[in-house]
Subunit: 294 residues, 2 copies
């Protein structure tokens, strides 16, 4: 039996950056808070809380404490209100997410009807929508196509979406407008993780996807994988059931962009234990076969 991890699994640049910024800020000021969970991983958020970084959900809860803006960004008016109150801001919004705000503003100025390809309930999309003047249309899939033809459409994607689904949507939109301007805001870290997950899923007879149940990019990895093979989306090693592994020859692991290394390592070691192989226990995610595969 072989256990392998998808290349480049785990933390992306934006998540690493947000955690580092939060940790550094906490060293200087122990009273610091994040506005909304910093990233979509409950275990990492818990760890941040243990380091004294608690999460608030409303301006009234900030109580003048220095505030870290979560990696997914927050609504424009809320950010402005925090600023207006003179509260110190540490903006940990992923730079790729911040760019989508700029694109929205730019396309707006040029008179495009903005369409956001994403989940209307996701904090990244809620924040992005707030940067659009007028009404942004949010489309989750091709079923949400506008009824009437629109003269000029500008489309931006939630950064963690799947490129193939984005392509399908664009294909469907072409006859719906005179001009269509697409900014491909799907983050390359997202695409790379999706591709390596798909590759591993095709070689495996079981896939374990690790990451927050609230994490958009992790859910996407689970979806891509489950379209090919038996797949379980877990947050923690404890969730693994021995019966999943029964009679499996090739077990694949992948992890979302907000999944910390220590959880991935625990999952790998737990799988080895379940299959009765205790010699190969590892301590670093880099040591799992497949992680650095060319």
């Amino acid at each position: 039996m072989k256990v392998k991890i998808a290349k480049n699994s785990g933390f992306c640049f934006g998540v690493k950056r947000a955690i580092n910024m939060a940790m550094e800020a906490a060293k200087k000021n122990p009273k610091i808070v994040t506005f909304g969970p910093l990233i979509h991983n409950p275990q990492m958020v818990e760890k941040l809380e243990q380091a004294g970084i608690s999460s608030v959900n409303a301006i009234s809860e900030i109580k003048d404490r220095p505030t870290i803006i979560r990696s997914h960004g927050i609504k424009k008016d809320i950010l402005e209100e925090i600023k207006k109150k003179g509260i110190e801001i540490i903006n940990a919004t992923c730079p790729y997410v911040s760019k989508t705000h700029e694109y929205a503003r730019h396309l707006n100025e040029e008179g495009y009807q903005i369409i956001i390809f994403g989940d209307k309930n996701h904090p990244e999309v809620i924040a992005l929508k707030s940067y659009v003047k007028g009404n942004a249309i949010i489309m989750d899939n091709v079923d949400d196509l506008p009824d009437k033809k629109i003269d000029k459409i500008g489309i931006i994607s939630q950064t963690t979406r799947n490129i193939e689904n984005f392509q399908e949507l664009i294909k469907a939109l072409v006859p719906k407008c005179g001009e269509l301007r697409i900014i491909n805001t799907i983050c390359s870290a997202t695409s790379i993780r999706q591709k390596s997950t798909l590759k591993l899923a095709k070689e495996s007879d079981l896939m374990i996807v690790i990451g927050g149940k609230n994490s958009s990019n992790t859910k996407m990895l689970a979806k891509i994988s489950s379209d090919f093979i038996e797949t379980y989306h877990i947050e923690l090693a404890d969730e693994i059931e021995k019966r999943w592994l029964f009679n499996k020859e090739n077990i694949g692991i992948t992890a979302g962009a907000s999944t910390p290394d220590w959880i991935i390592v625990e999952v790998y070691n737990k799988i080895l234990k379940c299959i009765g192989n205790s010699q190969k226990q590892i301590h670093k995610v880099e040591d799992i076969p497949g992680f650095k595969e060319e």
Copy 2:
């Protein structure tokens, strides 16, 4: 046996306009010429010649005569050279085609790599390409995708292309660039003719497509139809062979945007004659069943 014509077959706005402009100009000046064939229909071009409007292919052949610019447009430098010589110009370029030249210039100014979706040997594409500063990429289908990722792509279509093929190409281009700006320059007359041809092809067991063998939009109708059913692309009624009609219950006719009414009428009457029905002979294309169908 039923014989039906696809809704809206025959002359489009741009072709009608070009012929009217040429005829009016010929009344005022019998020495007039067109630069290249005015439209892509050899029979109509012959009729224009009979009306004294001959076609030239080089500036040296103009010999100072007033010059009609063909409906597909001509290369920018040639147009400028004719102008510079002080020759009177009657510009019969289809206004929808002229618009593609403006879009090319605009996208150029904004720094987009221009891609033209079309046939590199078609006069419309040759003319359009000449309005692009720098190198325009011409793509006939998805096999022509660029190897390297391009930062900003602006894409324009030959006006007579098929929208579904355009959609496929755009879908394939999305991951090939950071930004993709699409101007949907496929003429609505083209789309409408293609849709009604497809509809009729689905109801027929034989299709006769009438129009110039050199006509891009007619060839597209023939392609769309032949993907569904036995199809013959003809220019003239004389080409019809009785054996094609043998044992057919529903015969469909369609005609390109540059096919004159009199040829369509001749084809219809010839079919009726071949199937032994001489009572229903008609004189106007509007009288063919299906032409004005809602």
